[in-house]
Symmetry: C2
Subunit: 347 residues, 2 copies
């Protein structure tokens, strides 16, 4: 029963992305219905004329959420949204969802009603069919796994790996707010415990809190692409921070990029709250996670149609690989872009 | 942020199946690609001419497995098999798999290599494409979520709800062994701890241990159905015990059943080990979980073809609902069939 002792490597030594590469190297595919496996926001299948995309996400209490300040209904909503966002990032529309939950005895039936209420509300808002799942128990805390199937025309499915030199780099909405919303919640939570029950003061933080607690996925952007015959050359959703996601696109597209500081969209309240916390808003925008905005590239000739939308910012362009991935400051300094996004295995 | 205090119901009061019914009542479907939602071994979708089935399962350390006596490689294999079994129970063939894992820092990269090794081995054996997943961290222990997509001709998809009066009730393989394998492992584990390191004695338990640690899914039965133009009238896989699964078929088919004690297939070693533990082998066969055999019904005119296989037992027949669900003992006594299978929320 016992295994011989072998070399042991800590997960934190390797990091999440290297671990995934290691675990999923050289996986064979047996079926022609498998178009694309591991390595994008979603896998791509083809049953029938259209393509299906499939994406999955696991959320663990204490790691991905804190139930002290996250209402169960919001948690259900957000868990669904995070997966819809991955589907949109493939230029596809979410169709079906399956959900598994594991809960300890400390949870009540009413708490699960709330969670499912949020999940079902997201499914209604985004017209997704909740078709199945698994409900089980856990020794400690709450675990959630959601898998979503989406659908797209085969020629419109958008990968991370197909950005081309001179393409415009675009991002929807604004960045960094969800991260600052989390900082506010954690601060007020600490004050609450330290003061043994002092009420949280949250009135001036509506925008950043909403971005953290009730994010939305960018369905309207996919509709806009369809109506205007825009097919992005690459796309990814921003769950781990702009820097990290843009580096994924560049690495997988074998390309470089120039990203312009002055173009990065940051909400006024994000700036105010960052300053209150003694943080640089730009750092929050580059590295803060959970924005669920779309980062995509389009050919230069789409400039006019993209620029027509106030909720899309053109933040840079794709360059030749030899130029590297660069961040250009307001003063024109060029510095290498590095990812400091959320990592599952940081100690 | 705080919610008003409402009525609180403990999960154990409601039970797993009632909880699922409550959470998933009246879920709307928006897409014609959704053929069947919650309520079977898998949901059924239709993209293209064929149908796809989708099933998902979550496994939590300390609830569904004990890493003291479960090698990581076996765990990966079994986690995949449990989902393939659900796909076969729809009379479909598994095609794609996505897997999410959450692990605490106590796990090494090599432990995850082993887990993925087992998972990949199962995918090779059953020709399933591992197409994606999520790798994250957990505060405590190991959590696994697997989702599998399968494919079937639309007219061959087999539900739980379509058994007809006079149909033969059939089961593959033999029952109760996986449950007794678990008893052996738990006993030896206890001895190991009590004796501070005494070696386990497992030589005489090969069959029941293999059924617990390395179960297989019944692919060859689905191939047999296809080759012989048999489409079962209903089917389910046995993960929670024969009684529980047969009652699901009867309830959803609005029918009754007669199940014959003398027909229930039990392996010789299962009988021996049960007797060693002072258990009734029949009770293990009726209520022991994790056998991953298929329970199905066929019309009477399929008797000859089904009876030709030594690995399928005909164990009873479907009756009118008014006759109830009955267990007929070797002495001809008729007693009501009750489910005592595994429940997620027993205290």
């Amino acid at each position: 029963m016992s295994e011989p002792i072998k070399e042991i490597t800590a997960l934190s030594e390797l990091g999440e992305f290297a671990l995934i590469e290691r675990l999923t190297a050289n996986i064979p595919h047996y079926h022609k219905s498998t178009i694309k496996g591991v390595g994008d926001d979603a896998a791509v299948l083809q049953y029938g004329d259209k393509c299906q995309v499939i994406t999955t996400d696991m959320l663990m209490e204490g790691i991905h959420f804190n139930l002290v300040y996250t209402p169960m209904k919001h948690l259900g909503y957000k868990a669904a949204i995070a997966n819809f966002s991955d589907v949109y990032a493939m230029n596809a529309l979410p169709r079906q969802l399956v959900v598994s939950i594991a809960v300890s005895q400390k949870f009540s039936v009413q708490a699960l009603d709330e969670f499912y209420g949020g999940l079902r509300h997201a499914c209604e808002e985004y017209e997704v069919d909740l078709v199945g799942g698994d409900t089980s128990s856990s020794m400690t805390g709450f675990a959630i796994s959601i898998t979503v199937i989406g659908e797209a025309d085969k020629e419109k499915v958008t990968y991370r790996s197909t950005a081309k030199e001179t393409d415009l780099i675009c991002v929807t909405g604004d960045l960094g707010a969800a991260y600052l919303g989390l900082q506010v919640l954690e601060r007020e939570n600490k004050i609450f415990f330290d003061s043994k029950g002092g009420q949280p003061r949250l009135d001036n933080y509506n925008y950043v809190l909403q971005r953290q607690l009730k994010p939305e996925a960018r369905k309207e952007i996919i509709d806009f692409f369809a109506k205007n015959d825009v097919v992005p050359t690459s796309m990814i959703d921003i769950s781990d921070g702009l820097s990290s996601e843009l580096l994924h696109i560049c690495k997988q597209s074998d390309a470089g990029c120039s990203l312009y500081q002055q173009r990065i969209p940051i909400h006024e309240q994000t700036k105010e709250v960052a300053s209150e916390f003694g943080m640089e808003p730009l750092i929050c925008a580059l590295n803060g996670g959970e924005d669920y905005e779309l980062l995509f590239t389009v050919p230069l000739d789409k400039y006019t149609i993209i620029a027509s939308r106030s909720d899309i910012a053109i933040i840079g362009h794709i360059t030749h690989k030899s130029e590297g991935c660069n961040f250009v400051t307001e003063l024109g300094q060029q510095i290498p872009l590095v990812a400091q996004g959320w990592s599952a295995y940081n100690e």
